[in-house]
Every structure is written in C-alpha cells, then in structure tokens.
C-alpha cells in the first residue's frame, strides 16, 4: 500500500497549485462560477420581474415611454433615450468580444508565432491589450450609465420619485455594480499579467471564469435593454 | 415491553381523540368553530373539509398502523429471522404512487369547483358592505344605505352580503369563523368576498378577528357581527343612517316663513338626549362569548362616582372639542366632526363593545378608555387625553388634557349617541 501521496500527485505547475484529481476533470472554480451565475440569474430575474410588475403603475411621472404633465403644469418627456442606450449596449457587446480575445491571447501564450506574422496574429497574443480593451469598453458603458442616471435625475426622475424610478435605478444600478466589479476584476488580471505574465492552465482558468462572469453580465444587459427599453 | 404498548396504542388514541372532538364540536362549547353550517360559504367549505378529514384520517390510520405493525413484527429478536435484502419492488412503488395520485385527484376536483363557485361575482341584489381596515379597528360602510359605522356589523339573514375589503394602512384580514373563510385586506387593492347567512338562523351574535398580523394590537382588533332578521336589519339600518340623535351643536333649522309673512320664533336647540329608535341586538340576549372579559390593565384610576353627574351637553359642546376628539371622530350632524381617522361615533351607544371588540361598552370602561386609550390597548393611535396620564408611546406624562370631570361629561355625551 502506497503511503506517499504527494510524490505521485501531479506536479506544481505554477506557483502553489496542486492538480488534484477531480470527478469531472474540471477545476473546482469553474464549477463554482457556474453555481454563482445560477444564483445571479435568480437575482436579476427578481429585479426584472419587479420592474415588469410595477410597469405602468406609477402614480406620478416621469414615465419611461410617454410624456407626462404634472398637476402643477410641469412637463416631463418620455425619459428613456433609446438611441443613446443602443450605443452603450453596442459598447458592452463589443467588450464581450474583447473578452473572448483576451482569453484566447492567454491560451496562445507560449505557443510559437507563425513565420511572418500578420498584425492580427501578433495582436491576438496581446493579452494585456485585450484585457485593457475589455475594461475600457466596460468603463465606457459605465460612463454612459453615469451620464444617463445624472440626466434622468436632472429631468426629475430620482430613485425616490415613483415606482418606475425605484425599480429602474435599482435594477440598472445593480447591473452597473456588477459591471464595475467586473472591471475591477479585469484590472486585477491586467495587473497580474503585467507583473508576472499570465500563462498556463491555472491562469487560463482565472481569465476563463472572469470571461464567464463578464459574458453573463452582458447577457443580463441584453435582457434589461430588451424588456425595459425596447418593449413598451 | 412498555415502549411497544405505547406505540401500538398511539394511533388508536389519536383516532379516538379526533372522533371525540368532532362529536364535541357543538356551537356552545366552541363558539368560534369553523365547522358549523350557518352560511352557504361555510357549508361549501365544510363539504370540502369533510372530504379532507375522511381521506386524511384514512391515510393516517393506514400509514401509522402499517408503520407500527412493521416495527413490532420485524423487531430484532433472538432466534428471529434475518433481514431480507430487498432493494425495491417496481409494482409496489407504482401502486403506492398511483393510489395517492387518485386520492388527490378526488380532492382536487371538488376543490377547484368550490374555488370557482365561491369566487364568482356576488349574486345580484346583494347587500354591499365595505370593510376598511385600520390599525387596530374596523370601518364598515354600507354605501347603498348611507351608513358609516365601526367594529360592529349587522347583516340580514337570508340575503347575500357582498364584502368589499381594503385597508388604509397595513395588511389585515377579515374573519368571522362561524360565517366562512377569511379574506385579506390589502393596501391599494380591493378584495371581494360574499356569503349568505342562512334564513333559518335566528338572530345571533358572532365573534370575528383580524387574521393578518398587523402590529402591536393585532390581537385586539376584533369584530362583532350580528345576523338579524330582515325587519330588524331594516330598523337598524334606517336608524344608523340618520344623524346623531342628541346634537346640541346642530345648526338651527331654517325657519319656515308662513303664508302670513310673520316669522315664527326659532326653535330652541335640542338639549335633551332622545331614546334610541333603531333596532340593536338586545344586550340581555348576548351570548357569553361575545361579551368581552378583557380586564382593564392595572395602573389607571377613574372616579366612577363622577359618571352619574356627567353632563352630556357639556360633553358635546366643550369636552368633545377640548379633548381633541373632533380631530379624529365623525359624528353625523355635528359641524366639523367629519374626520375618518378614527371610528365614526354617530351611533356609538348602539354598540355593545368598544376599542374594536376588546372591552364592554359601559361608562367606567369608556371613561378609562378616553383617559388613556394607549394604556388599555397597546399601540393605539388615539391620543392620551387624561391630564396627568403617562403616555406609553410618547413616554411622557400629559400636562394638558381633560380631567376626570370633563371626561365624565364626554362619557355622558357618547352614551347619549344611541
């Protein structure tokens, strides 16, 4: 009967990671991020359901899609700005694309460049570049959100104003907080890449779970954009 | 072995308990029983309940008996048989999945039928009663009869009563156990419920309760419902719709100019309390369970001797204003007394209880209630009116307010509002 376990245990590839046997062959963190995303689905489903339940039930305006005049004669126009939000949605979608490329760059790390590489083949390997691009596009989206929120407040829609304000700002605020957390995560990965370089199975996993989270946040935005902005 | 005897006795004992209790559920011993058939509503529900009880009892007996039998028969004994290594039995498992499914279907179908029957719109010609919940009292309005009253509700037998339920503050729930199921009062919503008291019911009084936790005095938010004969109800309703019978503050009636042009002298203001002219459920016929037994909490005193000398006119013209009562209570015909914050007092003396069914309506109780409602009913929104009384919510002693003599006047006034 063997008594020594570690000697035969898979070696220390990078840093301190032991490759333990797993039932599925997947890393624990991969499975954990999916369970986390499962809970997040229910979180956003509850927020979106609340918005939809309260749709059309605010007693006072401003309202999302129609103009309103208050009892004192104050005029409010339809507050949602579809063209601007379409632009920010596009930016977020592009950030998911950048995220895919960032993951690919880490996966390509250590593989040799082909002879006479094109600019694209070179840029595909720039994990720092694509991580930065994802973070920048995410931050741009957040900039759009900040602009939108402040202009809404300016126009009379605050989180306290009515059911629309409360449910809208809470829902999009939670989403924005998730994007912010994602941007911070990306910056952390970028910092690690700059300091020691991201390479190998463990680092690919770190970028992979960040990518899963980022894509999820993007999909949630698609749902929000469709249900809140596009559908009247 | 003692444990086996107890175990085998258990299901038999429980069954016996169930049967005994069923037989004992007489109206007198259990005055809030949900099993009686006094309305179409509770008759329908009870029909469902009977099915549930019989199936439930059957399943109970079968399952518990098999369980007890099994643990006795297959207990480990010296020289007993070895355990049989059985892993499953498809036929058995299918059977005991299908049979419960069938039983449940036999429950589901009448359930759905009853749901639709009892939630259909109320029949035409129903008597509309609006129930508006407040912390911690009930406002009742009969919109077609022009009646606004509180805490005690009269309904005629043999006619469908259609309740429209809502609340001005938190959630409440309207339940008269002897009449039928409950229905919640939800803010910003109107709920509907109806039932028809059986026309064979003789005039009766019933207890009702708030059954959705609504804060400090949820336990004290009680209802009295009186199911009365149609002519009694007519009399009661006509009277309730009239303004206060005693009203020193009533504006003088416009003088009629007679044909000869000479104005008659203005009629003097009414200063004598008039007797009640509408039906109320006779006090001497009230069953014991609708008469509140709640003791007045210790720590409040009132000189009951003052009550005899209470002046109703003074109470109406001074006390009612000085005490701030007019700020919350409406009295029909009294100028300025139109607030709906508190119960309508136009005919308060036609009620048998006060504080939402918590205490009896009598002079001494009324005096103490006025003096310090919050002491008698936790959380009560009504101000502490007695001068020198400690207000448990504000946590301070009232320096202004009415003294006992003034309160006695107000009591006399209220007792005149029959």
């Amino acid at each position: 009967m063997t008594t020594s376990h570690t000697a035969a245990a898979a070696g220390h590839d990078d840093g301190h990671v032991h490759h333990h046997y797993t039932t599925t062959g997947l890393d624990h963190r991969k499975i954990a991020i999916w369970t986390f995303i499962g809970s997040e689905c229910m979180l956003f489903a509850s927020l979106i359901s609340t918005y939809l339940i309260y749709k059309g039930r605010s007693i006072v305006g401003p309202f999302p899609h129609e103009a309103w005049t208050s009892e004192t004669g104050q005029q409010f126009h339809a507050i949602l700005d579809i063209p601007v939000t379409s632009a920010s949605t596009f930016v977020l979608l592009m950030s998911s694309f950048a995220m895919v490329l960032a993951l690919q760059a880490v996966q390509l790390r250590g593989t040799p460049l082909p002879a006479n590489p094109t600019w694209w083949q070179r840029s595909q390997r720039s994990s720092q570049g694509w991580l930065l691009m994802t973070a920048l596009l995410g931050a741009t989206f957040l900039g759009f959100q900040a602009y939108e929120f402040t202009s809404f407040v300016h126009e009379g829609l605050t989180i306290k104003r009515n059911l629309f304000g409360s449910s809208f700002f809470t829902l999009t605020g939670f989403h924005g907080a998730h994007v912010t957390a994602g941007v911070l995560w990306l910056m952390t990965l970028l910092w690690i890449d700059r300091s020691r370089g991201l390479q190998g199975k463990n680092d690919e996993l770190l970028v992979d779970i960040c990518a899963l989270y980022w894509h999820f946040v993007d999909v949630v935005w698609i749902a929000i954009f469709t249900l809140i902005y596009l559908i009247r | 072995m003692p444990k086996l005897r107890l175990r085998s006795a258990a299901p038999a004992f429980l069954l016996l308990a169930v049967l005994l209790t069923l037989s004992a559920c007489g109206m007198n011993d259990y005055p809030n029983s949900t099993f009686n058939h006094t309305t179409d509503y509770n008759t329908a529900i009870d029909a469902l309940w009977d099915r549930l009880l019989w199936w439930g009892t059957l399943v109970f007996i079968v399952v518990e008996t098999v369980l007890v039998f099994t643990i006795i028969k297959f207990r480990k004994r010296p020289g007993g048989p070895e355990a049989k290594q059985i892993h499953g039995n498809a036929a058995l498992e299918i059977t005991w999945t299908v049979i419960p499914a069938l039983i449940l279907a036999l429950i589901a179908i009448p359930t759905i039928k009853t749901i639709f029957e009892t939630q259909a719109p109320a029949p035409a010609g129903s008597l509309r009663v609006q129930v508006i919940g407040h912390q911690w009292w009930w406002e009742f309005r009969y919109p077609d009869l022009g009646i606004v009253t509180a805490n005690e509700v009269y309904v005629p037998v043999g006619r469908t009563i259609s309740f429209e339920l809502t609340t001005k503050d938190v959630l409440h729930s309207f339940w008269i156990p002897q009449m039928g199921g409950k229905r919640d009062l939800i803010t910003n919503r109107t709920n509907y419920m109806w039932f028809t008291p059986s026309d064979t019911l003789k005039s009766s009084a019933w207890n009702g309760f708030c059954t959705e936790y609504c804060g400090a005095s949820h336990a004290n938010m009680r209802i009295r419902m009186y199911t009365v004969q149609p002519d009694e109800f007519e009399s009661w309703a006509r009277h309730q719709a009239s303004p206060a019978v005693f009203n020193p503050l009533a504006p003088a009636p416009t003088p009629v100019v007679p044909a000869n042009g000479r104005r008659a002298a203005a009629a003097p203001a009414d200063t004598t309390p008039a007797p009640s002219s509408g039906y109320i459920f006779p006090a001497d016929q009230l069953p014991a369970h609708v008469i509140p037994q709640t003791p007045i909490p210790a720590g409040i005193t009132f000189d009951d001797a003052l009550l005899a000398g209470g002046d109703a006119t003074r109470g109406a013209t001074q006390g009612f204003m000085l005490g701030g009562c007019i700020g919350c209570h409406a009295i029909g015909g009294v100028p300025g007394a139109v607030s709906t914050i508190g119960p309508n007092l136009t005919h308060v003396a036609s009620r048998h209880t006060i504080a939402s069914g918590l205490y009896r309506f009598d002079g001494p109780t009324l005096a103490r209630w006025i003096k310090n409602a919050r002491h008698l009913k936790p959380g009560a929104i009504m101000n502490t009116i007695g001068k020198g009384e400690y207000d448990p919510i504000l946590k301070s002693t009232m320096t202004a307010g009415l003294d006992d003599r003034q309160i006695a006047d107000v009591v006399a006034y209220l007792m005149s509002l029959k």
Partner: protein, 637 residues
C-alpha cells in the same frame, strides 16, 4: 463489525493536529467547522426554545398578562427567525460540513477557507440579529415581515433594520456554503462513486444546495427593496406611491417555500441513513428516493402562492397553486412508503437514533396530511393564519426536521467524538420529546379550527380555546425537561461515553471505514468504490449481492492513487503520510468581520448619523477587501 485493533479513544493531538482556541479560530477543516456549526446551532435552538417557553406561558390562560404585547410580538418573531435561520438550517449545515466529504470519500470540501468564512458569517449574523432582544428592540413583524408593516411609515424604530440586515448577512453565509457544497459533490467524489451511488444524505443535501442557490436571491432582492425603502426612501413598498404589498409576499414566498424543503430534506437524508443501518437491509427503492427528492426540489418552486390563498389572487391562480401543492404530496408520500418498506422484513434495532428516525416517519405523516388539507384553497381559508397551520408546520419542522436531526446527532456523535451517547439518557430524551411534542402541538389543530388566530399575544376567555392552550403549555414544559436530558447527554458523553471505534452501528457507507473521530486528512488512502454500500461490500457481501457492482477496469472515474475500500485504523499524522493539508488561517474570520462591519454601518444611516455610518462601513470595506486580497493570494496548502 470486527475491527483490526481494539478501539481506544483518540484525540486531535494523536494525529498531530493543533488544539486550543486559536486552532478553532483558524480552522479550515470541514469536520471542525461542522462541530462549530453544531454547537452554535444547538445554542440558538435553546434560545429559540426559551422564546417559545415564554410565548406558551403567556398563552397558558386567557388574558394572562405575563408579558406585554410589544415583548410578545418580538418573541414570536424571534422564535421563528431563530429556529428557521439560526437553528435548523445551521444544524443541517453542521451535517453537510461534517459528513459530505466523508461520505463521498474526499479529504475536505472544494473551498475550505470559504467554508470557514460561511461559518463565521453565520455566527456574527446570528449574534447581530439576536442581541437586540436584550434591549427590547428585536424585530417584531413576524419571521416573514409582511410589507407595509415593515416599511418606515409603520415600523419607524430600529427593530426591522436589525431584521433586514441580519437576514442579508445570513444569506451570504448560506449562499457561499451552497457554492462550496455543489462543487464538492460534483467534483470531489471518490473513484467509482457515481451520482447514483452517493449516500442518501449527500443526495438530499445536493438537492438542498441547488434550492439554496436559486431560492436565496429572491429574498435577497425583497430585503434589498425593504432596505432601500427604509434607508434611501425608495417606493417599493410605499403605500402612497401605489406600491403593491403582494410584491413582498411573492418574492418572500418564492424563497419561503423552497426554504421549507431546505429545512426538511437534510433530515430526510439522515433518516435514510439511519433506517437501513438499524434494519440491517438496504434502503428500499434508492432510485425513487433520489428522484422524488429531485422532484420535491423542482416542484417546490411551483407552489409558493399556497401561502397566499387568502390574498385574493383570483380563482385561476388559486386553482393552479392548489393543484401543484397536491402534486408535491406525491413524491413526499412516496418517501414515507419507501421508508416503511425499508423497515419491512428487517431486523430492527431500537437504538435512540432509530427511535427518532421512526418518529419522523410517524410525525411527518401527520404534518403531511394537514399540509394536504391546506392545499385545498377554500378549506385553507378557514385554516390559514390560525393555530391549525401552526400545528401543521410544527409537525413537519419539529416532528420532521428536528426529529431527523436528533437521529443524525445520536447516529453521528460517535463518529464526531469517538464516543457513543448514552442510550439510557437518550431514551429519556426521546420519550419525553415524543410525548411533550405531541402534547404541545396536537391540540393546536383543534384550537385553530375552532377559531383561534395566530400571532395573538392574548385571547379572551369563553372562546373555547382554554383547554387546548393549557395542554400546549404543559407540553412545552415537558419539552424543556426533555431538552435538558439531551443537553446533559450531549455534553457528558464526550467524556464518559463508551468508546465507539470505526463502525459502532454496522453501517454501509464510507464514513464508517475510518477512525472515530476521523484524522485530519479523513482517508489515509482515497477509497475506490464499487457499489452503493461500500462498507457492506467489505464486511457483509451477502447484503449487497443484489445490486450492481463495478469493477476497476470498467470504471470511468479513476484516480491512480485510489485503492479499494478498506478499513483504516492506524493513527498516522498527515505529515507521516505525506498528505498536504490546507494551512489554518484567520483570514476567513477577518474577512467575515469586515463584511458584517460594513452591514453594521448601515444601521446608523437612519438616525442621520451619516458620518458614523460611513466610517464604520468604510472600515468594514477595508477589512473585507484586505482580507479577501490576503486570502486569495495565499496558497491553500
């Protein structure tokens, strides 16, 4: 059942483990964390029980006047909150922690430090939500806090703030643990242990983790809305803005109904371990037991509005939820029958855990029957918000969950401590509990149907409820005595109980193949499992001849280092065996303190103490981020 060496009692020191308070504060060992959960949860169980004793004393007689309305309302709120969130759920967590890795043949959970974090957050959250009652500002809107009673308009004091924030804290603990256990069960099973070979406790716990992951977010959001209303003036439950109180109810019960399955399924799992062991035959219909557990979890998300039959959702909604509720009775009933069939033709030994397990079958049946009675919506309108429903849920939660948990405690105490609990004292505990429990709760069926509403601090005489209330109170006092016997047994047996050895009961699953208490590393060698009952395969092959077995060359899950199932009795340290152990660390505790501190800061917002609130929250945030950083950058082992 013969072991290789005569069992003697082993302590942590024998295995080269640390001892002393600091070792408990820095532990990341699932067994120790399970022990921490157990002791803490039992303490909260006693607190919740004390609250119940005061409640029942107040209700002993009409117009009793023992406590004020305000105190009573805090008591019944805290009794429910304590029992659900601080007692039963963490008692289940104690077993998840202690047992799951042992049952699946793993050395720990997937994320040991996250595991410790979950415990510390629970402890701090439990203290946070309990301490207010000492200052008479405990939550007082019921354990389910319906809006708008909880809104700032009707609950201006700090009571509800404690409730909202406390529950959010506890939610973090449960969610983190759920992520951990799902990953553990999916990814750390010993070779050969397919999902359909997992022990029933692990299976039921697996379903529960999914329920936690999916059910907690809706209540998190419901609480976020309430928190925002109270602290930031939003309008989610504000009457004047046209808010709908049913929003709270729907969100709460979408959580609340799966929550009751979270409360019962682990107890079901424990019963499914105990019954076969003491019947000396396998669980009847293992496959169906697994599928019915999954069905209950799944259907459990489709019945929530049966808590809302009185709110007026309309005939169609009422009918759908009534039918779905009846449907869920089927997989639940099937379990009862399968258990009885497990007992049938067995050789039943009436140990204390077996008594509790059988009691669960008997009592849960009653609770299940009253549950079906509730499912018929019109009938429920006479039952809901009365003592009939109080009877129902105590039969399923006490007669079900608590009985099952006691079965689990008596059954697994030897494994945890190396000593058996006293059967004699255990029998006193059992019988006093059984009688006391029925005396307390059976009369409530009658009180309810005879018109007694719930959540009332006083009732008048002459209503027909006096006798039932008196019986319930006497039963409660009997339960107090019963619990004292349990506490005595639990505490005393650690020093004086009979030595247990690996497998005192003759059980079937992997946790019984290693010493009691297990060494830090659990298994010196990861076992390779060939069937559902690995230990019976080893010790009593005749028992398992009838089920399928796999052989090494046909297994699809493999690990080169695993060896066939065997008994381990040697006492070597992890170092001697060359097994890398995770480093003990206080970082999870530090991070937990940071998180809870952030939440504490919120408390000061409503009193316009903005600067204080910000200071506390930012300090907490700094601790949280610092702790997380240190934690994530430190190696596990």
């Amino acid at each position: 059942m013969a072991t290789i060496a005569a069992p003697t009692h082993a302590g942590a020191a024998d295995y080269g483990e640390q001892t002393g308070i600091w070792s408990w504060i820095t532990t990341v060992d699932h067994k120790r964390i399970g022990t921490l959960y157990l002791w803490t949860a039992l303490s909260f169980f006693l607190i919740g029980g004390l609250e119940a004793v005061i409640i029942r004393t107040q209700l002993m007689k009409p117009n009793m006047g023992f406590v004020s309305a305000e105190t009573y309302n805090q008591l019944f709120t805290m009794h429910g909150t304590t029992m659900v969130f601080l007692a039963i759920m963490p008692l289940s967590a104690a077993f998840f922690n202690f047992l799951i890795p042992l049952q699946i043949g793993a050395r720990d959970v997937a994320f040991p430090r996250l595991n410790a974090f979950s415990y510390w957050v629970y402890l701090l959250g439990g203290i946070f939500i309990t301490v207010p009652i000492l200052f008479q500002v405990a939550p007082d809107a019921g354990w389910f806090g319906y809006a708008p009673l909880t809104s700032p308009q009707f609950a201006p004091g700090p009571n509800i703030d404690f409730w909202v924030i406390g529950l959010q804290i506890l939610g973090v603990s449960s969610l983190a643990a759920a992520f951990n256990f799902i990953t553990t069960i999916i990814n750390m099973r010993a070779p050969g242990m397919t999902l359909m070979r997992m022990p029933m406790f692990t299976w039921m716990s697996f379903v529960v983790q999914f329920l936690l992951v999916l059910a907690f977010p809706p209540i998190t959001i419901a609480l976020v809305f309430l928190l925002f209303d109270r602290f930031f003036g939003t309008t989610f439950y504000a009457i004047a803005a046209g808010a709908d109180p049913l929003l709270w109810q729907h969100l709460f019960w979408v959580f609340g109904h799966p929550e009751v399955y979270i409360l019962i399924l682990p107890a079901f799992g424990l019963v499914s371990e105990v019954l076969p062991t003491f019947s000396k035959k396998p669980l009847f219909g293992y496959n169906v037991m697994v599928y019915s557990g999954i069905m209950i979890g799944f259907l459990g998300f489709g019945v929530w509005a049966h808590h809302m039959f009185a709110v007026g959702m309309g005939a169609i909604a009422d009918s759908i939820f009534a039918t779905m509720t009846m449907l869920i009775a089927i997989p639940t009933g099937v379990k009862i029958f399968n258990w009885i069939a497990t007992l049938w033709a067995g050789e039943i030994r009436f140990t204390v855990p077996m008594k509790f397990a059988i009691a669960l079958i008997a009592m849960f049946t009653i609770g299940g029957i009253s549950g079906v009675m509730h499912s018929s919506a019109p009938a429920d309108l006479q039952q809901t918000d009365t003592y009939f429903v109080v009877a129902h849920f105590h039969y399923v939660l006490f007669g079900g969950s608590i009985m099952g948990i006691f079965a689990g405690i008596y059954h697994y105490y030897p494994k945890m401590t190396g000593r058996l609990m006293s059967e004699k004292i255990g029998n006193w505990h059992f019988w006093l509990t059984f009688v006391g429990f029925n005396l307390t709760f059976f009369p409530m069926h009658f009180a309810g149907l005879l018109g007694m509403p719930r959540r009332i601090y006083q009732y008048d005489s002459g209503q027909g409820w006096d006798a039932f209330n008196l019986m319930s109170t006497y039963g409660t006092y009997l339960l107090v005595v019963a619990t004292l016997f349990f506490v005595w047994n639990f505490v005393r047996s650690r020093k004086t109980g009979a030595i247990a050895g690996n497998d005192p009961w003759g059980a079937a699953t992997l946790e019984w193949s290693i010493p009691s208490p297990p060494p830090e590393y659990n298994f010196a060698q990861i076992p390779e499992v060939a069937s559902r009952y690995p230990l019976w395969d080893l010790k009593d092959p005749a028992k398992t001849a009838g089920i399928e077995h796999s052989h090494a060359d046909s297994m699809t899950i493999t690990d080169a280092h695993a060896v066939p199932v065997h008994e381990e009795t040697e006492r070597k340290t992890a170092k001697e065996l060359g097994i890398p152990m995770p480093f003990p660390t206080a970082k999870p505790l530090f991070t937990a303190v940071g998180l809870v501190t952030m939440f504490c800061g919120l408390l000061f917002l409503r009193n316009d103490m903005f600067a204080v609130a910000m200071t506390i929250t930012l300090t907490g945030a700094a601790m949280l981020i610092g702790g997380l950083y240190a934690w994530l950058t430190a190696p596990l082992e």
